[in-house]
Symmetry: C2
Subunit: 449 residues, 2 copies
């Protein structure tokens, strides 16, 4: 394992402390206080970090009142500081906030509505505070039920930061080793697939091979966990349906399929509430988080009831803050807003519009090797040369940085950090979509025009 | 391992589903909806569960408007729905709520004040959403820095519900095995110590033995984690100072001492902000949680900066909701309230008053073997016979249940579930303390008078 760590270690699009002298006195003092109080784990985004003091709708504001268009954050999905979320949370906070070991019907009413969005066999929800805790719990349930310990993940996947979630994450670098019972498969990367290779079949075959390798090592297969958009692998949404064969193999071998919906869930992909629904498949467990409470810490695992029957009887699990009425009231408001403001059709329509717009701009630049997306989640992949498809990380970071100077915030994704990660809020308007396209067009012209 | 699980499995003072028919139609329908939507992991407290719809100060209210005195919850420590917490959170929620990868000074101002409360070498704080996540992170930091994997815990300790936290918890029952690199020592139980045994020396000696046993098995010692009040072991606060010798042994062998302050922290023990401070010792890592944000999900690990220098450089750690400005504003309000309302001296004074009152009542009942406490946290231990000290779980549960019928809420603790766990909010008044004592006196008279 080679050691090559900059002060941004392990983080894409991170501020490099070596550039501290490029900041203003005020900015430098904040960075130094962060180092001194929070320590070196706390990184900032962007070559030139952003200071924020307020936010509203699709915009965030710095102390001077400049507006930044949020094309990155997947948590405040229905809009920053959405008044209905603020009202629901404030009201509940003044009324009651306690754990789930007393009777209260808020959590039940919400769960009833949430369960309906899954369809199929998913019938129970267990609440946690973070997606990491939800992944951690899903792994416990999967291992308990299968008696296995072997987990399959994709090659550059991130599933969270508890010890167990980090141990199945393949993005963590050499100092956070992947668990020895984990096997990895390549994510289905259409743009980089070799000619003639069927990536759908390839994924299914790779899973077969991984399970066989586990068997050879005496490891019992427990399950396959994947984000159906493969957000950290580079955002790989196509072709919809490609997970079907893979999941059939998982089930054939007695494993469980855990859909990590922390990124694609809650309408991010458009007309489907959940990313896996684009593939016409049914998971055994669904992990959800980030946008669930628009910033209040609520997350959870939705699961087929049969998987909890024995687990619930034998394994003690209680999450003090999980499913408290304040966080549930935020989650309830989010579901209500998605429905009342037609955010899924907005996401679908604006998603198609933006994908088209990005592809149109891309035509003028051979450096853009690929544009792909689903709903309001896009990747724009940069290469030094369209033939060799060699990744161009430097240009990608230049674009992100130039966009930030134009006050349009996005980031990067992919193992080679050579794709833009563009994730507008679901509440974007046509005008905001146009601002994103115009800024991107101008940025590309300025950098490569 | 014997299997003896009731439907309350793994939970003290749990509602037994076999008693469903004893509930009203309305209550039964809630319990059934919980089973059907949340699944069997969700348990209710009390023989007769409590339905709550609002709370204020030291009281929680059922739908009929009956007031329950809260002598149990350690989360809403400064008072249910405290107006300053409600205001701070509501205001911040309408202003800005995002992650820590942008610059914002709220988290820095709070951390500065928090760090001051530790004194000594603790200088950095990393934020999570739950105490479990904080324990999980503390273990990662301890293992990273020592290169060890061996952890020492007490015999009946609970440290959380992530996979890694559950694997060092010795309260989880036969289906959640303790990690093979974990060794256990007896908590220092003065009331049950054999005559002539020095429990202070005993704990230090037991830790020596545990470390030697690790060495024999090729396990490198990483550290010792303990709640200085030993809340689940039965609440064992005395004699203050007893941890000193134990920690010296831990340090002599190159291990780290992780103070689990999720229970004793934030003034629970009275004049000291942190439980470990009662012992005149200094931890290497401090884990905090529950009362930190009065119900908003915020928790964290405070740590000596040297332990993060390399960890922060090499290990990627980012908690999306951890330290967000909304949760931080709740935590800031809690610190402000503790100071402005003199809650630590209130806790100290009322704590002494209540301890004295409980001891006075105990004199009349040979069934009460021991009364102990620190600050506003008490255990009352029941035995069938003061000579043999045989635990009386049945009487303990009868008392809890009778107190609940008098609308005073508490629970149980200890491996044998034969101690009352009494944990009044820090904002208790003299009148509320007297209500607790009177109800307890009446309950004991009714049950054993």
């Amino acid at each position: 394992m080679s050691e090559k760590f900059s002060p941004t270690a392990g983080m894409q699009n991170g501020f490099d402390l070596a550039r501290l002298s490029s900041l203003s006195d005020h900015e430098r003092s904040i960075v130094e206080r962060r180092q001194s109080l929070l320590g070196p784990s706390y990184k900032l985004m962007y070559r030139h970090p952003v200071e924020l003091v307020r936010a509203e709708g699709a915009y965030m504001y710095d102390p001077a009142g400049n507006a930044y268009l949020d094309c990155y954050n997947n948590v405040p999905s229905v809009g920053h500081c959405h008044p209905r979320v603020v009202e629901a949370v404030s009201k509940q906070l003044a009324t009651l906030n306690t754990h789930t070991r007393y009777m209260n019907d808020k959590i039940l009413n919400y769960t009833e509505q949430l369960v309906e969005t899954f369809g199929g066999g998913i019938g129970n929800v267990m609440y946690t505070c973070t997606g990491s805790e939800a992944v951690d719990l899903a792994l416990r349930i999967a291992k308990f039920n299968t008696g296995g310990t072997g987990i399959i993940v994709t090659d550059y996947a991130y599933h969270g930061i508890t010890s167990a979630a980090a141990a199945i994450s393949t993005t963590m670098g050499p100092y956070v080793p992947v668990d020895q019972h984990v096997r990895t498969v390549k994510a289905p990367y259409q743009y980089r697939a070799q000619a003639g290779v069927d990536i759908v079949q390839q994924l299914a075959d790779d899973i077969e091979v991984a399970i066989a390798d586990m068997q050879r090592h005496g490891i019992k297969f427990a399950g396959f966990i994947a984000d159906s958009l493969f957000s950290t692998d580079g955002l790989l949404p196509d072709p919809a349906g490609f997970l079907k064969k893979a999941i059939a193999v998982v089930h054939k071998h007695g494993g469980l399929y855990i859909a990590d919906e922390v990124q694609p869930g809650f309408g991010r992909t458009g007309l489907n509430m959940w990313g896996y629904q684009r593939h016409g498949i049914e998971p055994d467990l669904v992990v959800m988080g980030k946008p669930m409470g628009n910033g209040l810490p609520i997350a959870g695992v939705a699961v087929k009831p049969a998987l909890l029957a024995d687990f619930g009887r034998k394994v003690r699990y209680f999450n003090t803050f999980g499913g408290n009425p304040v966080c549930v009231s935020a989650a309830q408001a989010v579901l209500d807003i998605i429905r009342d403001e037609n955010l899924q059709s907005n996401c679908h329509n604006l998603g198609l519009y933006l994908l088209d717009g990005l592809k149109t701009i891309a035509k003028d630049y051979p450096q853009i090797g690929d544009v792909r997306g689903a709903g309001l989640y896009f990747a724009v992949e940069f290469v030094t040369d369209p033939e060799s498809k060699a990744p161009d990380k430097a240009l990608t970071l230049d674009v992100v940085s130039a966009m930030r100077e134009r006050r349009v915030l996005m980031s990067t994704t992919g193992k080679e950090e050579n794709s833009l990660k563009i994730r507008p809020l679901l509440c974007f308007t046509q005008k905001e979509a146009d601002q994103l396209l115009e800024s991107f067009d101008q940025t590309m012209k300025a950098l490569r025009g």
